[in-house]
């Protein structure tokens, strides 16, 4: 890349780096570099700000260069309360910049869609900004929604209370008959202030925040946190724990993908796959419960390794159950791929082309369904994935079928991975004593959760506490993808498209 490249310190996944080794850029250089990088296929994994000494705001862009397995953290220190927005040139920055305004009160000038995303008061402002405004925050969901005028245009508002047992979110459709012109998604109902809590009072509560950041991604987020803590503390994770972590991560993937495939079948009224997948998902969750006593994997991962070991008898039972899951799942899911009426609904519905997928920075199965060959397990392998490769599953049609089929391919890869790992578990202990976090360091921990790339950025202060702990759930990247996928679709296909993304509300809202 440009002359600026020499100023950037490339690091790898969960490699800690002393803050003094990273040189700050001027604002112009920072913006130029970020734009140029994203134009060349580098992804914006995180973009956030936090206050630093001297009454400045430090703006961080965490760029991920998948093909080179490199993470490029760059920053600039802002003295003023605004900067020129990146979004008009780099749509990936869209939600990040809205978040920066909401969290830190820094305004991206020229942002085309500057609305609140979580509806809370800023909590991360420069030091002379005065005390935080603790008055009641704005009503969630009350903002200027995009609105179309016209004789035959009608508006449909869905949520935040939905008919199913799902999380709250508000969706506004601008429709012409059954056709959707535009969908606007407004979230924030699940905002709990996790990032703020992690800066204010980290310590023993932190791991519990991680386990509940997104309930269905307990292992994914906790693993990202553990990796960050181990990196800051210089802790070596025993090989046996690394293998067990990989198994837990893949079990989570299988359980959620299975549930999604069943739900996709249910949304088009195809009952056999719906019923069987619902049951099999439970079987897989029970396998996670065998590892640690909790079906979602809470309490299993701890900085330094895993809290529980697997003795030979339980390992054998797990292997037996894995065989049963593989057998049942193949029958249940293939039933669906062989039903023409199902394929007629899936194919060509909610298409996201590769170009759009890259421009808005989709991650996970949604990106791989648009043909993007990226997967943190392959691009930035850590732990067990450095030794055991999981082949990346892609499909290129970008529609509901592709997002479903990629999930099915991933389930099969994950089953073979788990079997291989269970059959050759390394010996030794599963937990080493975590070291104390190094002061004034930065680490970027990436995990391929079942929904996609989970990115945790930890910046420690002089005492080893967090100056800033940034969590980016894959949903944060992908919600806009759902809104895009609905353009010019039938409104009756929205639930199907929504299920094919199956994004997290609480993972987004934090």
């Amino acid at each position: 890349m440009s002359h600026l490249a020499s100023k950037v310190l490339p690091i790898s996944n969960s490699q800690k780096v002393d803050l003094s080794h990273i040189a700050g850029m001027t604002l112009d250089d920072f913006l130029d570099y970020t734009l140029e990088a994203t134009e060349h296929g580098v992804r914006l994994s995180a973009f956030f700000a936090h206050p630093v000494e001297g009454n400045l705001m430090r703006l961080w862009a965490i760029l991920v260069y998948d093909h080179q397995s490199l993470v490029l953290p760059v920053y600039t220190d802002l003295a003023q309360d605004s900067y020129p927005s990146l979004t008009p040139y780099c749509p990936q920055a869209h939600w990040f910049e809205r978040e920066i305004l909401e969290q830190c009160g820094i305004k991206p000038e020229g942002h085309p869609w500057l609305k609140p995303i979580r509806f809370h008061r800023p909590f991360c402002r420069r030091s002379n900004a005065g005390p935080d405004d603790e008055s009641a925050p704005p009503q969630v969901g009350s903002t200027d929604f995009f609105h179309m005028e016209g004789e035959e245009i009608h508006e449909v508002a869905v949520g935040p209370v939905h008919a199913g047992i799902i999380e709250p979110g508000h969706f506004r459709f601008q429709c012409h008959g059954e056709n959707v012109f535009h969908l606007e998604i407004s979230l924030g109902y699940q905002y709990r202030g996790i990032e703020r809590a992690l800066t204010a009072e980290p310590g023993r509560r932190a791991i519990h925040y991680m386990e509940t950041a997104a309930g269905d991604t307990t292992i994914g987020h906790t693993l990202a946190y553990c990796q960050a803590m181990e990196s800051l503390g210089g802790t070596q994770v025993p090989p046996r724990a690394q293998a067990l972590r990989g198994i837990a991560l893949e079990l989570e993937r299988i359980a959620n993908h299975t549930g999604d495939l069943g739900a996709l079948a249910g949304d088009v009224g195809y009952l056999p796959t719906l019923s069987y997948c619902g049951r099999i998902r439970g079987d897989v969750l029970n396998m996670t419960a065998m590892l640690c006593g909790n079906r979602f994997g809470r309490g299993f991962l701890r900085p330094g390794g895993t809290a529980y070991d697997v003795e030979p008898e339980r390992r054998d039972t797990l292997l037996k159950r894995l065989d049963a899951v593989e057998r049942d799942l193949a029958v249940a899911v293939n039933l669906m791929w062989k039903a023409p009426s199902v394929l007629a609904r899936f194919e060509g519905t909610g298409t996201v082309e590769r170009k759009v997928c890259d421009a808005i920075g989709l991650v996970g199965p949604a990106a791989r369904a648009s043909g993007a060959n990226r997967d943190i397990r392959k691009d930035m392998p850590l732990g067990i994935f450095q030794f055991a490769q999981v082949p990346v599953s892609t499909w290129d049609s970008g529609d509901v079928f592709a997002r479903g089929y990629v999930r099915w391919l991933e389930i099969q890869q994950s089953i073979s991975f788990i079997r291989e790992q269970l059959e050759s578990l390394p010996g030794g202990s599963v937990l080493s004593t975590p070291g104390n976090p190094a002061p004034h360091h930065l680490t970027i921990s990436l995990v391929e959760g079942w929904r996609g790339e989970i990115c945790h950025v930890a910046i420690s202060d002089a005492g080893g506490n967090f100056t800033r702990y940034k969590i980016i759930d894959p949903s944060f990247h992908n919600w806009f993808g759902l809104a895009y996928a609905l353009r010019d679709q039938q409104i009756s296909d929205f639930p199907l498209c929504n299920k094919s993304f199956n994004l997290s509300y609480c993972g987004h809202d934090l």
Binding site: H154, E155, V156, A157, V158, A163, G164, E178, A265, G266, D267, V268, G269, Y270, L271, P272, L274, S275, Y276, R279, A339, S341, V342, A344, R345, T349, Q490, I491, S492, D493, F494, P495, L496
Partner: protein, 316 residues
């Protein structure tokens, strides 16, 4: 008017929720689930009747009248509905039009009550319902006309003195084995068309999904979201009667048992109805819903099937 034809409509009032039970049991069997009991709809109705109803302040008397009119229309329709060879308590030339428009009245009031709520969802459901039923109606009426023509020469003695045969009781009494032997292919096409109408009008898969919770995809269910308690009970019961009505028209056609004994004929039609419910369960278990854009195409092809049957019979 004889005793069986007086008693049969009341039997239908009692038995109709059973059809929904058979559909649900079949679906549970295919899905490997324990499923709900056969008599679940009876329990649901009993439960709902004990509850109070909640009415939105934006609704008017139309919203409250909706369920009552629907149920009244459905019950009235039962009295012109023959059970195969067993004729209805009331029959006159053109009563098939009355039946079709009693069902039209049901739909009209469902739609009005839905629009009365002012909800965007219910408006969407209403527009879909009206669009699809406008396409289902010709399939039904032309199909019945074809059946009337097929049975023209076979009208059984008690009703043979009818002026013409444009009464449902007349048509169905004439659809004996003889009629099937002489114009089987055409009747088969009519049966196919009537089955499509049966599925569409009763909001079954592949047209609608009676189990879905997704408002944006619903057709019929979304229109009754605001009804509760006894009102909902009336709607659910009315819907099961509608299933009985359209089911009887189909079953009476495909079961050509015309012994002259009304009880025997009626039992055969009831067996046919149970088979139809079973078939509905199988269809729902083995295929997905159509994309909403494709629904009119299937309904129009059912209309073509009816028309083709009529043309074949006129040609003969």
């Amino acid at each position: 008017m004889n005793t069986p034809s007086l008693i049969l409509p009341f039997l239908a009032l009692i038995l109709s929720p059973l059809l929904v039970g058979i559909v649900n049991r079949t679906k549970a069997f295919f899905a490997g689930r324990t499923g709900q009991p056969l008599f679940q709809l009876y329990f649901d109705l009993a439960k709902l009747l004990r509850k109070g109803a909640v009415y939105s302040k934006t609704t008017s008397w139309i919203f409250r009248a909706g369920p009552v009119v629907q149920l009244a229309a459905a019950i009235t329709a039962l009295f012109v509905l023959p059970w195969g060879g067993a004729s209805a308590p009331f029959h006159f030339n053109g009563d098939l039009i009355l039946l079709a428009y009693l069902m039209g009245l049901m739909r009209f009031f469902t739609v009005l009550a839905a629009l009365d709520t002012g909800s965007a969802f219910e408006g969407m459901g209403a527009s879909r319902e009206v669009q699809f039923s406008a396409l289902a109606e010709p399939a039904l009426l032309v199909g019945l006309a074809a059946a009337a023509h097929a049975g023209h020469d076979h009208i059984a003695p008690p009703l043979g003195n009818f002026q013409g045969a444009l009464s449902l009781s007349g048509i169905y009494s004439s659809l004996s084995m003889d009629a099937w032997l002489s114009s089987g292919p055409a009747l088969l096409m009519v049966a196919g068309a009537l089955f499509v109408v049966f599925l569409a009008e009763n909001s079954r898969i592949p047209f609608d999904d009676p189990n879905t919770h997704l408002e944006l995809t619903m057709i019929h269910e979304v229109m009754i979201l605001d009804h509760g308690g006894p009102d909902l009970a009336m709607i659910l019961y009315g819907a099961s009667l509608k299933m009985w009505l359209l089911g009887s028209l189909t079953a009476g056609l495909i079961v050509p048992v015309r012994t002259g004994n009304a009880w025997l004929d009626a039992s055969a039609v009831f067996a046919g109805l149970c088979f139809l419910a079973l078939l509905t369960g199988v269809v729902e278990s083995t295929m997905a819903r159509l994309r909403l854009l494709r629904v009119p195409q299937l309904l129009v092809s059912a209309g073509f099937l009816s028309t083709l049957a009529l043309i074949l019979l006129l040609w003969r």
